[in-house]
C-alpha cells in the first residue's frame, strides 16, 4: 500500500513476525500441492476460501480491536445472532439481509464501545458480557431452532454461488472489506490513530488525537465484521445458526496473533492477519486430505489438538525470530 509495504526487505526487517506467517503459509501450501492430487483444484480452493471467509472477516475486525490494545470476545456470538437476523430477513433478498445483519453487528459493537469508552469497563469484561447477551439473544429470537432461509430469494447466492463464475460472492465481499480496511490502516488518520492508541493511549491523548472516536470505530467495525460473517454463515448453510460461533473469537484472536500483531496493540498488519486466518484454516484442510488418503484416520478432536500444537509452534517460531531482531528491545 505505502512505500513501506511494497519494499519487501524493509517489510521483513521491520515485521519479521509477519514474514514468518507468510513463510509458513507458503510452506504449507507447497506441502499440500506436492502431497495431494486435488489440493490445488478449483473445487478445493473455492470451498476452502468460502468456508474460511467467515473467519477471515472476523479476524480482520478483531485485528483492529487488538491494535488498539483491546479485545472483542463477542464476535462469535454476534455472528450467530446476526445469522438468525439474516435468515429472518432473507425473504427480502440479500440487499436487505446483508445491511440488516451488518447493522445489527454494528449495534452490538456500539454497545461494546459505550461500555468501554463511556462506562470505562475493561474490554475483556464488556465484550464478555456482550458475548453472553448475544448468545442468549440468538437463542431467544430463534426459539433455539435453526431458522431456515428463504431459498426462493437471492439470499443464498451469497454463500453458494460465484461472482462472474469465478469466486463465491462471500469471498468477493470479504476481499473487498479486507482491501478497504488495509487502506484504512495504512493510509488514513483513523488507521494511524488506531495504531497509536495501541502503542500508548496516554501519549495519543496528549498528542491531541481523537482517541474515543477511533476506539468506538474499532468495536463497531468488529461487530460489523461479525455481521458479515453471520450472513455468510446463514447463506452458506441455508439457515440461521443460533448455536454456531462458539470459540470463533478465540480462533480470530489466534489468527491475529499468528499474523504477528502484538496482543498489547500498536503493531500489526491486516494482510498478515488474513494470512494467519488462512494458515489456521489450512491446517484443517490438510488434515482432511490426510484422512482422505486413508493412510491415517484422525478424529475431529485430534485435529483440534494438532491445530493447537501447530499454533504453538508458529508462535514459538515468531518469538525466536523477533528476539533476534536487532533493536527489538527498548533502548536502555
Amino acid at each position: 500500500m505505502n512505500a513501506d509495504a511494497l519494499d519487501l526487505r524493509r517489510y521483513v526487517a521491520h515485521s519479521p513476525q509477519s514474514a514468518a506467517v507468510w513463510l509458513a503459509l507458503a510452506a504449507l501450501v507447497g506441502f499440500g500441492l506436492l502431497r495431494y492430487e486435488n489440493f490445488g483444484s478449483a473445487y478445493n480452493l473455492t470451498s476452502f476460501l468460502n468456508y474460511n471467509s467467515m473467519f477471515i472477516v472476523i479476524s480482520v475486525g478483531m485485528c483492529f480491536v487488538i491494535l488498539t490494545g483491546g479485545i472483542d470476545l463477542s464476535v462469535g456470538s454476534v455472528a450467530a445472532f446476526t445469522s438468525v437476523v439474516a435468515a429472518y430477513l432473507s425473504p427480502y433478498g440479500i440487499q436487505v439481509a446483508l445491511p440488516g445483519a451488518v447493522l445489527t453487528g454494528v449495534g452490538f459493537g456500539a454497545l461494546n464501545a459505550f461500555s468501554i469508552i463511556v462506562l470505562r469497563i475493561p474490554p475483556f469484561i464488556a465484550t464478555l458480557a456482550a458475548m453472553l447477551a448475544a448468545k442468549g439473544g440468538a437463542l431467544v429470537i430463534s426459539g433455539a431452532q435453526t431458522i431456515s432461509v428463504d431459498w426462493t430469494s437471492n439470499f443464498t447466492r451469497m454463500g453458494m454461488e460465484s461472482a462472474w463464475n469465478l469466486l463465491p460472492w462471500s469471498i468477493v465481499i470479504v476481499a473487498a472489506v479486507v482491501l478497504v480496511l488495509w487502506i484504512v490502516i495504512e493510509r488514513t488518520s483513523l488507521g494511524r490513530t488506531v495504531l497509536a492508541i495501541g502503542g500508548s493511549e496516554d501519549a495519543s491523548v496528549l498528542m491531541g488525537l481523537k482517541v474515543a472516536r477511533a476506539k468506538a470505530f474499532v468495536y463497531m467495525l468488529s461487530g460489523g465484521c461479525a455481521g458479515i460473517a453471520g450472513v455468510i454463515l446463514a447463506s452458506g448453510f441455508g439457515a440461521g445458526q443460533p448455536l454456531e460461533g462458539i470459540g470463533w473469537e478465540l480462533s480470530a484472536i489466534a489468527s491475529v496473533v499468528v499474523g504477528g500483531t502484538l496482543l498489547t496493540g500498536g503493531l500489526g498488519s491486516v494482510p498478515a492477519t488474513v494470512a494467519g486466518a488462512l494458515l489456521l484454516g489450512l491446517v484443517f484442510n490438510i488434515l482432511n486430505f490426510e484422512n482422505g488418503r486413508g493412510t491415517i484416520s484422525i478424529s475431529a478432536y485430534w485435529q483440534m489438538v494438532i491445530r493447537g500444537g501447530f499454533l504453538f509452534a508458529v508462535i514459538l517460531f515468531q518469538a525466536r525470530v523477533t528476539a533476534r531482531r536487532p533493536g527489538a528491545g527498548r533502548p536502555g
Binding site: A3, D4, R187, S189, R192, L195, A203, M207, G208, G266
Partner: protein, 506 residues
C-alpha cells in the same frame, strides 16, 4: 514587552486538598523560563492547568494578551502551547514520521495520507535540529535523547509559541544534554518561549533567563537567573535561610567520620560478563561505600553481582565469614542483603497497592502466623516506619501511586529496612526526588549504617557520592580502577579518577 503568558491567582483543589493557592507565572516572548520547587510544590498542577488537563478553580490565564480558553491537549496545541512530558508523550512502536505528524498528516484527496510528503516533512524538520535519521524506523529504536528531540521537533513544527519541558534531561547523558541546550537556544533565537522545569539547578544557570520558584502551591519568588546563586534558589524552594544551608552543607550525609569495623562484604576480582570484568570492593560495618563511575562503567552490574542476580564467572564474593556468595536474590535476601533498584516504577512499587501493602510485601512470610498475616503486628510495624522515616501519607491505606516520588522512595527504603538487612545496596536512591526528601533519605541511610550495618551506594550525582560516601570505589569499563577515601574526596578528584587519570591513582 507584553508577556506571552500571564497566570495570576491560580487556585486548584483536589477533593478538598489544596494543590494551588495563589500561583502565578509570567513568561515573556523568546524567554527561557525556569520553574522550580520541591515535589508537591504545585509545578505539575500549574502546568496541567495551562495545558488544559485540569480545570482551575480560580485565577486568570492570559495567553498572547487574551484570556486563554484551553479545554484539552488538542486546544493547547492549537493555541501554540506544546508540552514535552517527562514520560515521553510519544509512541515508541510507531515510526518517527508518524510520531511527528500524527493528527496533522499531509493528505491526498482529503483522506489518504501522503506518506512520501510526510516522510519528507519529518526529515526536513529534524534536519533543522541537526538530526539525520531514518524517519521510517520505529521511534523506539532510537535513544532517549533522539526521542526527546523528536518530541520537541513535533512541538515546534506545530507552530508552538511556548514549549513546556518537564525534566527534559533526566534521562540524557552529558553530550545529549548539550544537543538539547542547543535546541533550546535555537528556540529562543526564533522567538519561541520555553518553560523549563528541572531538579538540576546547574542546568538552569546554563540556559535559563528567569526563574520562578513555587512552594506549597504558591509562587514565592521570580527573579532573573543572572545574579542568583544556587543557594538562593534552594533557600527559596525550601523556605530556609541561605546562610543556614551553607553552614549545613548541601547534603545530609556527612561522610568520612565512620569507624571501620568488621568486614561485611568483600568482592575480589569479580566478573560477570563483558560489562563487569574485575570488581574489587570491601565493605565494613558502619560504612557507606560509593560506587563511582560513568554510565556504562559497570556500576549497576556490580550491584547485580553482589545481590546474586548475575552469576559470577570469575573471582569471589564473601559475605561476612561465609566463603560463598549468594547465588540468587532470594539467597541474598535470606543472608541479609537488600537491593533498592534504580527503576522505582518498574521494579519497585506496586502502584495500585496501598502504602501498607507495598511496605510489607517482602516481609509477609515473617508476619504470618499459621499462614495468616498478623494484621495488628503488620499495622504496628508500618506505623513505626511511617513515623521513623517521616513518610507523608494520608494514612497507610492510601495507594502508593498517589504519593510523591520522594515518599514512594521512602516506602521502598522502609520495605528493605523492615527485613533488617545487614547490607543495603542502593542504586540511585535519591533520583527524581526533591531536595527536601533527598536530605531526609540521606539521613535515613546514614542512620542505618550508624547501627553497624553497611551500604553500597550508587549515584550519578557526584555531590552525593563525594559528601555521602566514606570511601568511593571507582569503576571504569567494568573494572575497579581506584579507591578514594573520605575525608579528602572532592568532586574534582572524583572526576579525574573517573577519567582514570594516572596522577590520582598513583
Amino acid at each position: 514587552m507584553q508577556p506571552l503568558l500571564s497566570m495570576t491567582g491560580v487556585e486548584k483543589a483536589f477533593n478538598g486538598a489544596t494543590a494551588l493557592a495563589g500561583a502565578s507565572l509570567e513568561i515573556l516572548p523568546g524567554e527561557v523560563h525556569a520553574l522550580i520547587g520541591q515535589n508537591g510544590a504545585g509545578k505539575s498542577t500549574l502546568i496541567k492547568i495551562l495545558t488544559g488537563v485540569y480545570r482551575r478553580d480560580a485565577g486568570q490565564v492570559l495567553f498572547r494578551g487574551a484570556p486563554a480558553r484551553i479545554a484539552g491537549p488538542r486546544e493547547a496545541q492549537e493555541a501554540g502551547i506544546a508540552t514535552i512530558y517527562q514520560e515521553l508523550n510519544l509512541v515508541p512502536l510507531r515510526s518517527v514520521t508518524e510520531n511527528m505528524i500524527m493528527g496533522y498528516e499531509p493528505k491526498r484527496l482529503g483522506v489518504f495520507i501522503d506518506w512520501r510528503e510526510a516522510h519528507r516533512r519529518a526529515r526536513e524538520i529534524l534536519m533543522r535540529f541537526g538530526i539525520d535519521i531514518d524517519v521510517r524506523a520505529p521511534l523506539g529504536s532510537y535513544s532517549t535523547a533522539i526521542q526527546q528531540l523528536v518530541a520537541i521537533a513535533r512541538a515546534v513544527s506545530l507552530d508552538a509559541r511556548l514549549v513546556i519541558m518537564d525534566e527534559p534531561t533526566s534521562s540524557l547523558d552529558a553530550s545529549e544534554i548539550e544537543v538539547l541546550f542547543g535546541v533550546v537556544r535555537g528556540l529562543r533565537a526564533a522567538g519561541v518561549s520555553v518553560l523549563y522545569v528541572s531538579h538540576f539547578l546547574d542546568e538552569l544557570f546554563a540556559i535559563c533567563d528567569r526563574v520562578t520558584t513555587m512552594r506549597d502551591g504558591r509562587t514565592v519568588d521570580c527573579r532573573p537567573i543572572a545574579g542568583a546563586t544556587k543557594l538562593d534558589l534552594i533557600g527559596a524552594m525550601l523556605g530556609r535561610d541561605t546562610a543556614e544551608i551553607a553552614a549545613d552543607g548541601m547534603t545530609e550525609f556527612g561522610g568520612g567520620a565512620a569507624r571501620q569495623g568488621e568486614i561485611l562484604l568483600r568482592a575480589e576480582g569479580v566478573a560477570t560478563g563483558p560489562r563487569l570484568s574485575r570488581l574489587d570492593l570491601t565493605l565494613h560495618r558502619g560504612e557507606i561505600v560509593g560506587l563511582g563511575g560513568l554510565l556504562g562503567s559497570g556500576r549497576t552490574e556490580a550491584a547485580r553481582a553482589l545481590f546474586g542476580e548475575d552469576p559470577v564467572t570469575a573471582g569471589a564474593i564473601r559475605l561476612k565469614d561465609a566463603p560463598s556468595a549468594p547465588a540468587t536474590p532470594a539467597q541474598a535476601i535470606a543472608r541479609g542483603i537488600g537491593f533498592l533498584s534504580e527503576d522505582r516504577k518498574a521494579e519497585g512499587i506496586v502502584p495500585g497497592m496501598s502504602v501498607r501493602e507495598n511496605l510489607t510485601l517482602a516481609l509477609l512470610p515473617r508476619l504470618a502466623r499459621n499462614g495468616q498475616v498478623d494484621r495488628a503486628r503488620e499495622r504496628a510495624l508500618v506505623q513505626r516506619f511511617i513515623d521513623a522515616l517521616g513518610i507523608k501519607t494520608a494514612d497507610m491505606e492510601q495507594p502508593i501511586r498517589e504519593l510523591s516520588g520522594g515518599n514512594q522512595q521512602k516506602v521502598l527504603l522502609a520495605r528493605w529496612l523492615a527485613i533488617e538487612p545487614e547490607v543495603l545496596i542502593l542504586d540511585e536512591p535519591t533520583r527524581g526526588v526533591d531536595v527536601g526528601a533527598k536530605r531526609e533519605i540521606q539521613a535515613i541511610i546514614r542512620d542505618f549504617v550508624g547501627q553497624g550495618h553497611g551500604v553500597v551506594l550508587i549515584s550519578s550525582e557526584f555531590e552525593e557520592l563525594v559528601e555521602g560516601a566514606d570511601r568511593i570505589v571507582v569503576l571504569n569499563e567494568g573494572r575497579t580502577v581506584t579507591e578514594l577515601a573520605n575525608p579528602g574526596i572532592t568532586e574534582d578528584r572524583l572526576v579525574r579518577a573517573l577519567a582514570h587519570d594516572r596522577r590520582v591513582t598513583a
